[in-house]
Symmetry: none
Subunit: 158 residues, 2 copies
Amino acid sequence: MQNPSEIVSQVRDSVTHAAASAAAEATTVSTVVSSQVGDFIRTQRNAAQVSLRELARSAGVSNPYLSQVERGLRKPSAEILAQIARGLKISAETLYEQAGILDRRSGTPDTVTAIRSDPALSERHKAVLLDLYESLADSTASPPTPQHAPLSTKEEHP
Amino acid sequence: MQNPSEIVSQVRDSVTHAAASAAAEATTVSTVVSSQVGDFIRTQRNAAQVSLRELARSAGVSNPYLSQVERGLRKPSAEILAQIARGLKISAETLYEQAGILDRRSGTPDTVTAIRSDPALSERHKAVLLDLYESLADSTASPPTPQHAPLSTKEEHP
DNA sequence: GCTCCCCGCTTGCAGGAGCAAGCAGGCGGG
DNA sequence: CCCGCCTGCTTGCTCCTGCAAGCGGGGAGC
């Protein structure tokens, strides 16, 4: 049997927890969840002319599950996400970003500068890469990532 | 009622699946990983002189669960990982890396990172550029991609 | 001595991830 | 015509994540 006072102690603990989780909810974007990832995956898959089952196979996941993921009925774990990324030949970071579990690599990377200053490339090769980059980047308009910032750095005290 | 032939068709599908998952299991490191993250988290927490309950509160997770995570009994999701990272004031990438759901970008030159995170490029184009980069870059200068690879490249047909 | 408060850990349960199995429909060839 | 093979979707199950509640213990104040 416990003393009433001890019980009170436990209760206070719980209350503190409740308050904390409430606060956490206030600061966390969370719930929106985003079928974003699913749409993105499906888009990428279609762009690559790959069937659902094919991708499922190469990614090592079951085809029904992939189907559900693409339609936003299921929220895939990071591991599954990484495997799908591998199957799609894209970077896991991109998918994590889409899933809202990673911030955008802030600070525009400036690929051109990186290529120009890359010691592993000869000048000729730099030219080739830059030329290709120019043709691929296209850059019509510039809608570069709206920055909704899902789980980004927050202020501790406002 | 179904025709036997159709059933056979279904069966073939299942068999293919079984083979695929077997292959996946063969090439995936999988289960070993986990406790790494827990140790890392606990180390970081102790280094910061923070109690378990405190971190749990600031990270927005329950204290018992954090306890289990630190001792490797539970495998936290990426979301939880990101929250813990926030509570510890460290980057989510670091924790993902420890959890084995993100490859180390250590050896990779800046150009690769720049391309990967370039908003002006589609994922397809990134793949193209990275592929070309790989073939152009001087291999003597940098030993690229260590590839310990928990979720790394896999053969299509063994 | 005894309370009070903190520490970390254990337990039982709700809910969701992920898969095996099965289903409906479209298309080419015997 | 209908058989085989593809496409994607739905269902029922198992396993595990994540939390609320409770436990035992150690140090400070009375």
